[in-house]
Structures are given as C-alpha cells and as structure tokens.
C-alpha cells in the first residue's frame, strides 16, 4: 500500500505541469487500488434440521455487514478459486469447507428424541450462529478470515 502511494505521488509530481486530466486518472486509479485491497465484512449463518437421520431443511445465509464493527482477525481459510470473482458463487461452491471451518469454532446442537410405544423419532437441529467474516481475494485465492468482536 505504501509502495502504491509513493509511486502514485511520484508520478503526480512528474506530470503535474502537463495535464490535469492525467492527475485525475491517477487519483482514480489510486482510489480503485485502495478499494480493491480493502476486505469487506460479511455475516455468515447456517442452520440444518434433520428428522429421523434425513435432512429436512437447510438454510445458508451470507450477506454483507450493514454496520461497521470493532473486531480482531482470528483464523483464516484459503480457498482456491481461479477465474471466479463472484463471491456468492465461491461461497456456495466451497460450502462444505467453509461450514467445517466455521463449525470448528462453535456449533449449537439441539436434539429432541421421542420413543413412543417402542417407536422412536428424532429431530435434530444444528446451528452455526451468525458470525462475522472477511473475504480477501489474492492470487486466485479467496481467503476467509473469522472475526472476533471486541
């Protein structure tokens, strides 16, 4: 980032006297670089219901965080996803890996089992509570980092 800034400033000084349009282009480029490098915060949640050992419902929610949070970065997971820039696609393609990674840090399980006249039925619910993550793209890799709120 510091390198980008110094480069931009040096080119700014060189071309100052030539044309103001070039300056505008350089500034816009600089802004674009800053924006691309910034990692976006997302919220991820998951819930599945299993009845008699068969999945009956599943929900996998992924959305941008609407407010800024104060959090520290924790563990991260790198996903190889070449030629893929759409985050939604990546998150659904690597759903299993992401869920396994996130559930390692806490999953809520709730179970109700009933044996009525020697016939049993069970209802299981596994929930990943809404968790903050950041996603960074770098060299064909999407890096997902878990955030711990302060």
């Amino acid at each position: 980032m510091a390198f980008d800034l110094s480069c931009a400033l040096s080119t700014f000084h060189i071309h100052m006297g030539k044309a103001p349009q070039r300056v505008a282009v350089i500034i816009s480029l600089l802004f674009a670089v800053v924006c691309l490098n910034a990692s976006q915060t997302y919220i991820l949640s998951y819930r599945t219901q299993v009845k008699n050992a068969v999945v009956i419902s599943e929900s996998y929610q992924f959305s941008k965080a609407m407010t800024e949070i104060k959090a520290t970065k924790a563990e991260s997971l790198s996903l190889y996803s070449p030629h893929e820039t759409n985050l939604n696609t990546i998150m659904h393609l690597h759903k299993d890996e992401i869920l396994e990674f996130m559930m390692k840090y806490g999953a809520h399980t709730r179970s109700h089992e009933k044996v009525h006249n020697s016939k049993s039925s069970s209802l299981l619910q596994l929930t990943l509570p809404p968790s903050y993550i950041t996603v960074d793209f770098n060299d064909d890799y999407a890096t997902i980092t878990r955030l711990i709120t302060d």
Binding site: A53, V55, D96, G106, S111, E113, V115, L126
Partner: protein, 192 residues
C-alpha cells in the same frame, strides 16, 4: 521423809530387777553362745597422686563415604505427564441417510453427510454435557396403554474435528473427535 526415800528405793530396786533378765542362768548361757566380735584392722592405703592424663581428644571416625554406584543411586523419576494432563479425546460416529427423492447421487451424498455431521454433534453433546430424559407410562386396568420416553440435548460444541467420512449404500458415517483440555474440563466432568 525417810519413808519416801525407802519407798523409792524399793521401787527402783524392783524395776531394776525386772529390767535385768541377764542375771538369770539362761541369759548367761545365751551370752556365752554369742559370737565374739571380730575386729578387722583397717588398712589405710597411701594415696598415690598421679598426674592427670591429658584429655584425649576423641577423633571422629571418618564416616563412610557415600557409595556412588548405580545400584545405590536414586532412580530418576520419569518426567512423564501425569494422568491429569493427558488430553481427553472423545470419538463418536454419526450416521445419516440420504433422502429417497434426490436429484443426483452427489446431492444424496451431501445431504447424508450433513445428517451424519448433525448426528455426530448430538452424540458429542450427549457425552460432554449430558442428556435430559423424561418418561411417562399410562397404565389402565393393569395394562400399559401408552409408554413414552423423551430425550433432550442442548449444547454448543467447539473444536470438534471430522476424522473420517464413509458413504456406503445410502448410509453416511462421519467419525468426529473432540479433544478437551483436562485442566479445564476434568473438574467439570468429574462433578457431574
């Protein structure tokens, strides 16, 4: 006056006669049988003054040197982690079945695996936190009309890892392992 002197003299004579039985011939015989007192001369030996011997300093006997040989050496205790520091590992195998109506085998596998993971989490929660059980039986006319057992598990499980996944004949089995820090958990688990 004379009478009193006479009486006293008579009394004293009478008393003396009583106190002196030795005058009888038996007493005289006894006196003859008594052994004569042997007087042994006391020899006083001259005291020889000899100079006092110089106090002998007790030499402390040198203690036996500690024998240093492998037989007498204290065996070093093994620096092994005690029982309490061994990690507590809980292994479970969850099972899940693929639904009958699936669009592809991949979907069947994915859903079966999901169900198996949820089952494995439940088994872990059962072991770590426990199960709440409720039961009720309805008996009418000495016959069981209804029998019901309900179990509940509610827990948050962290740090569980999938060890192995096997999918065969529509049944998916997921082996999961949970490693607990004994310092943190042993007292909690022991108290239950």
């Amino acid at each position: 006056m004379r009478k009193t002197l006479l009486i006293s003299a008579l009394l004293s004579a009478f008393l003396l006669a009583e106190e002196a039985p030795n005058n009888t011939p038996e007493a005289a015989k006894k006196m003859q049988t008594i052994d004569p007192v042997v007087v042994t001369p006391i020899v006083v030996q001259p005291v020889v003054v000899t100079p006092a011997p110089a106090p002998v300093e007790k030499k402390e006997e040198p203690k036996e040197k500690a024998q240093v040989c492998p037989e007498h050496m204290q065996k070093p205790t093994k620096q092994m982690a005690p029982e309490s520091y061994k990690a507590i590992r809980i292994n479970v195998t969850g099972q899940g079945v693929a639904p009958t109506m699936t669009s592809s085998p991949a979907q069947a596998y994915a859903l079966a695996k999901r169900a198996a993971i949820a089952d494995a989490y439940r088994l872990l929660a059962e072991k770590v936190k426990g199960v709440r059980i409720e039961g009720s039986d309805k008996i009418k006319n000495m016959m069981v009309q209804r029998s019901e057992v309900r179990t509940f598990v509610d827990a948050v499980i962290a740090e569980a890892e999938i060890i192995e996944t096997v999918f065969k004949d529509g049944l998916c089995e997921v082996e999961m392992e949970l490693t607990l820090d004994p310092a943190q958990w042993r007292s909690i688990l022991a108290a239950r």
